[in-house]
Point group: C2
């Protein structure tokens, strides 16, 4: 009997979840849910129906877990508490400052329904958070650093696209190699925002747009660009479509720490990701968490969890015995 | 109220556990236990008593968790089941093929006593196992690779020291850079033992020993060296003491995998360690697991666990709320 998965929201992330479910021998995609007209969606898995969101009100006996693939700004704060009241759910809520509030809302709903809700799954928050936890638990006397990239930041790309005269844009976040090397060598440098990352912008301007004005507006944009060394390169739509169509990303969490009665020994722990497709990798993490949510709920657990609360073995389809034999 | 830790066995690993406990604000070292004469042990933490092993029979109300720092060959198969019958315990049992058997024995004892026993903690088995599990759960369609080193293998150093005419020796396991690069680039090469690691031996010979014979005996030693490209360098005892006194180690677990409906996207997950002191890092992992063992037992859990069964948050002294705020 396979774990029956529903996907709510069929954008890049929903499609990433779909492809991850197709790779999980113990899971099957039961249905996709949308707020759009279901007939406009071409789901790639054969024989999977698409339903209107409202069908979620009565499908509790058809789904073991629902993966919520909406956005953190406005979708998930409503959807996750709502559907944690009906299903085991997983989301990728990533508005850092609001995680405590989101956790509280979802926990209340999931405890009331007796379901497990995993929030903030993905790679950051998610796998990177996990690695920060492990590294700090093992090396309490230390410091950690996170570098993101080289990869596409969709938020920064969107910010550029909102500028007058811009037709399209892609922004890459790039770690500064010297900063990464300094950290990897075991030093514990103090690094400013500017010293850690640079930003590369590829911009398609509208015909006749003022390129100098666009470049200036990007480079001085507060929060997004003004604290970084930013380069702006104007390219054609053809070039953008040809060379910048993917959504690669990645990065590293590095912790360096000292041990010994005299703190005489230095250690470096590094976890790094190089991802061709940010949404597909994120979707793959969500699917592993969906498996865990369902299995933890079968064991009688309920309430809101993050990946920090999930015993690793729950994420794997293999038994404890198989895991011990193969991985230890 | 701090978690009261006992250490049984005060060799390199026991000392590593001691230094890790000294860095844990929520734990204290209560006593060290030994099979030697307690008066011969100079424990570095002030005011910590040293007791004969037999005192462990009656100290259940003084200790919250006992860290077993004996060897996997003969000590732990006896000690871990025995003391899991009396205490929450942690060990670093690393005889891979015997882990299932060890698990079964310890599980029986810990279930009978109502305690938690964590076995096979450290970095491999341990943190590396954990990373194999996470990476495989997220990227099921992939392959993983483990590289060890550059670091001192104590087993291989011992094997050299047993050769006639050898006074002292240090053996370094070294990953082949080309193999690591090939894996990191996302390819999934088939690698032989020889293609993955080389072995560097630094040997102090006795006066008048037949160096050519020693070198030949090392290079042809089955299991240990014959499957590797091995270099042997003869040095003086002074050089060995000066340049090879530490016990550095490390390595990487790398998994590459594919996602996408057409498996069109490639991802690389890498976890790597660079350790100045293998026993102190291992001791640091044991101490984090000791915290988890005690806390899981307080919650009513019992039986044998590995790090694959421990929800990450149990390893950290911080609350769930603090962890979510700081790390997610």
């Amino acid at each position: 009997m396979k774990i029956r998965v529903g996907i709510f929201g069929y954008g890049n992330l929903g499609k990433g979840v779909e492809s991850a479910v197709s790779q999980a021998a113990d899971m099957e995609l039961t249905a996709v849910f949308t707020r759009r007209n279901p007939q406009t969606l071409a789901v790639r898995t054969s024989n999977v129906p698409v339903f209107q969101e409202k069908e979620l009100e009565h499908m509790q006996d058809k789904l073991d877990v629902l993966v919520l693939c909406g956005g953190s700004a406005t979708d998930l704060p409503i959807q996750t508490p709502k559907y944690a009241g009906l299903y085991n759910v997983v989301d990728s809520f990533d508005t850092h400052a609001k995680i405590p509030e989101h956790f509280a809302m979802v926990d209340k709903a999931a405890k009331a329904s007796g379901k497990v809700a995993v929030i903030s799954a993905g790679w950051d928050p998610g796998m990177f958070s996990l690695n920060r936890l492990y590294a700090k638990a093992v090396l309490p006397d230390g410091q950690d650093y996170t570098f993101w990239g080289r990869g596409v930041s969709q938020g920064h790309s969107d910010a550029i696209r909102r500028i007058a005269g811009v037709k399209d844009a892609r922004q890459y976040t790039v770690p500064v190699p010297e900063a990464v090397s300094a950290v990897r060598s075991g030093g514990q440098p103090q690094l400013t925002t500017r010293q850690k990352h640079t930003r590369e912008c590829f911009v398609v301007a509208e015909d006749g747009a003022d390129l100098a004005a666009i470049e200036k507006e990007i480079k001085t944009m507060p929060n997004y660009f003004s604290d970084y060394d930013t380069t702006v390169t104007f390219i054609s739509q053809e070039e953008l479509d040809r060379d910048h169509k993917g959504l690669p990303h990645g990065g590293s969490v590095i912790r360096t720490g000292l041990t010994g009665m005299e703190k005489e020994n230095r250690h470096v722990i590094e976890y790094s990701l190089k991802l061709d497709s940010n949404p597909e990798f994120t979707g793959s993490v969500l699917v592993a968490c969906a498996r865990a949510a369902y299995r933890m709920n079968l064991e009688g657990m309920k309430g809101c969890k993050t990946i920090l609360d999930i015993a690793p073995a729950w994420l794997s389809p293999e038994t404890g015995e198989e895991l011990r034999r193969q991985l230890l």
